[in-house]
Symmetry: C2
Subunit: 408 residues, 2 copies
């Protein structure tokens, strides 16, 4: 954890334990620091798993193996290494991950593909196998850790621990979800990584868990951006132990499937927004709401074009209602738009309507809105019914300071 | 022109006059400033024209009309307004452009579609028709202006005037090209605009002039980026007066066509690089050279992904050989790549080869290279023969200061 708390930080929530899930945190010493950096989570027999991973083709071995392992649908353990991302380390990096999988599988007596491994931190340095082995040995006998301890231990340059929780009623049974995430702080020579884990005691088939997670991902983790860069290690995994005893959710038509999916979506949205709140140098949390596009997908691409525009992000940092930059970002998105139907607003006040500045535009409420911490940019494309919302932060001197003001 | 000269600025070159081209600069007073802001260029009868325009769908009326006018192939005049981009101004903005076209066409006795208009500056304010009319009246009797005066007059937040020149031998006759450009400074509440004009005395058919300009555009203006944002007004026009008396270049097989295209390409490359040298906050000029991609197009997209990455650009600002960020940018480009064949270098020294850090990597020459003003990033994808080079600048506190440290 960094010393300087993000001004957008939220307190860690009270999160219930999840039956069948036990976390342990130890210090493997991946870096020369006095903190825990290895998280080991055991999962009850029968736990199902789903995952979504970075689309970066230069992904780490952890991502390659995780993607393969998810396919068989079950999980018994999760290991998260902080301080070394093990990315771009060739066959030695892959051997390090396989050694961890073998060690944990031997201890638990499970197939090794049921052991999931993530790593985050410096790149280009193979994960030291001896430190990982000793760390896991220690974790096997370590006391149980709290959610907050686990959230802190998976973090690297994060400025606050991040968690979210929800419940749902499935076939008359209340199931719980507790989740942690790290990201997206990034500091030389580290590489940004978003690692998120959702644990639930619900009984859910691997197929439905994957479908629900993929859908939630499209509407949450795929709708945030800090600086448009995509990590080589991004991973979100969902684990369902089944120990709540609900009638199993096999598919979208099963009783409680909708309620469970809604709870999962809520948890993922909260996790995604927490990552933005810890964006490098962030001073303002920005919601970009696009309506009137030709489709929801088109709306999302336009919203991301706005959210990724350095000129829009610096305008918000400067508390400047520069709607012309939003027009520019809409126009460059490569999506259907019509200059003369386009409307732009801030915090619920239109600045421009249908291709022209508003004649009676009152900038006072917009100026007041832009002085706050939570900013909304609205764009109505005026062509259809497509809608999307994405979240980002402003682009400030803090971002430059974190990423440029050093030599490695 | 801004007061603070870019550290990457180059002196204005000695550029020959072009027969059939006469420039005049006057003060229309689009802003409250004590400088010339209207450029009026007359072109000899029979001048052919070609153009490339922004792909931003929220383009200005100047771009819409220019695109239409280029289709008929001939030009008699160019008017460039500085201080007001006339973008996002609805029908009133379009009327202002049409009024200028009518006024000049009446004076020259030519069809109005042979009058080309560009505007750059504040957006959302219709170009004042009275100021434009009075300015053009003054320009009609103003003395001839030098290339450097014209280059200064089309500028807005540029920190230095930009020009380029070349010659070619066409069928035994020497033809000349002289060209000016403005961009890409941008300051609130202005919008970035790149406006470039190439003038030649060569006799060239409209079709070949367009083909040669489009090809040059793909390899020059489409290969530069400052911050990934795309203006609503970007325009490059080429005018050929034919007064050199060379045998007309009708098509790619005509004598001298290759030589002319090469000269046009050289001029466009120089203009494009000058825009990057005036990038907001730029301290370093970065050349990104990608080889080994599956095609030239794929290489260009990978190179732009590297050049647009805020993390790569801040690393160069920090003089940090952070090749991991280049790996990330290659991987997120959405193009074929293989982590284990990828090599990354700086200034001719490999830092990583075939997916792994180089065992005997000597950082000393790389560190020395990164302290300079002219930086090269090399990426070998290791899959094919596709090559591309793009140019960008670093991302510094200066960029944030220009774009965020103000209220409009």
């Amino acid at each position: 954890m960094s010393d300087t708390l993000s001004p957008l930080a939220l307190p860690f929530p009270a999160m219930p334990p999840i039956r069948g899930v036990t976390a342990h945190t130890v210090r493997a010493g991946y870096k020369d620091w006095g903190r825990t950096d290895l998280t080991y989570v055991t999962l009850a027999q029968g736990t199902t798993v789903a995952g979504v991973f970075t689309r970066n083709v230069c992904c780490s071995s952890e991502v390659e193996l995780g993607r393969l392992n998810v396919a068989q649908g079950h999980a018994r353990a999760l290991v998260v290494n902080a301080g070394n991302s093990n990315a771009f380390t060739g066959y030695r990096g892959r051997e390090a991950v396989e050694a961890i999988m073998d060690q944990v599988a031997a201890h638990l007596g499970c197939p090794r593909e049921q052991v999931f491994v993530s790593s985050t931190g410096v790149i280009g340095v193979p994960l030291p196998k001896d430190k990982a082995r000793a760390g896991i040995d220690a974790a096997l006998t370590a006391p149980e850790a709290s959610w907050e301890q686990a959230a802190r231990t998976i973090g690297t340059t994060d400025t606050f621990p991040k968690g979210a929780t929800a419940t749902a009623i499935v076939g008359g049974t209340t199931v719980s979800l507790s989740a942690i995430i790290k990201g997206s702080g990034m500091i030389a020579p580290d590489m940004a990584t978003m690692l998120g884990y959702v644990f639930t005691d619900a009984d859910v088939s691997p197929a439905f868990l994957q479908a629900a997670l993929s859908d939630a991902n499209t509407r949450t983790f795929s709708c945030i951006t800090v600086d448009s860069d995509t990590s080589t290690s991004d991973t979100v995994l969902a684990f369902a132990t089944g120990m709540a005893g609900n009638p199993r959710i096999e598919h979208a038509g099963s009783p409680g499937a909708d309620a469970f999916a809604a709870a999962l979506l809520a948890v993922c949205r909260e996790l995604a927004q927490l990552v933005v709140r810890d964006g490098e140098g962030a001073q303002k949390f920005i919601t970009v709401a696009v309506g009137g596009a030709v489709s929801d997908d088109s709306a999302r691409r336009i919203a991301l074009s706005i959210a990724n525009s350095p000129l829009v992000k610096t305008a918000i940092a400067g508390e400047d209602a520069n709607w012309g930059r939003v027009v520019m970002a809409v126009g460059k998105a490569g999506e259907p738009a019509d200059r003369d139907r386009l409307s732009i607003g801030f915090g619920g006040t239109w600045a421009a309507r249908e291709g022209q500045p508003l004649a009676d535009y009152d900038e006072a409420p917009v100026a007041a809105h832009l002085k706050g911490r939570e900013i909304t940019i609205e764009a109505d494309i005026g062509l259809g019914e497509g809608r999307a919302t994405v979240w980002t932060c402003d682009l400030t001197h803090g971002y430059i300071a974190i990423n440029a003001d050093y030599r490695s």
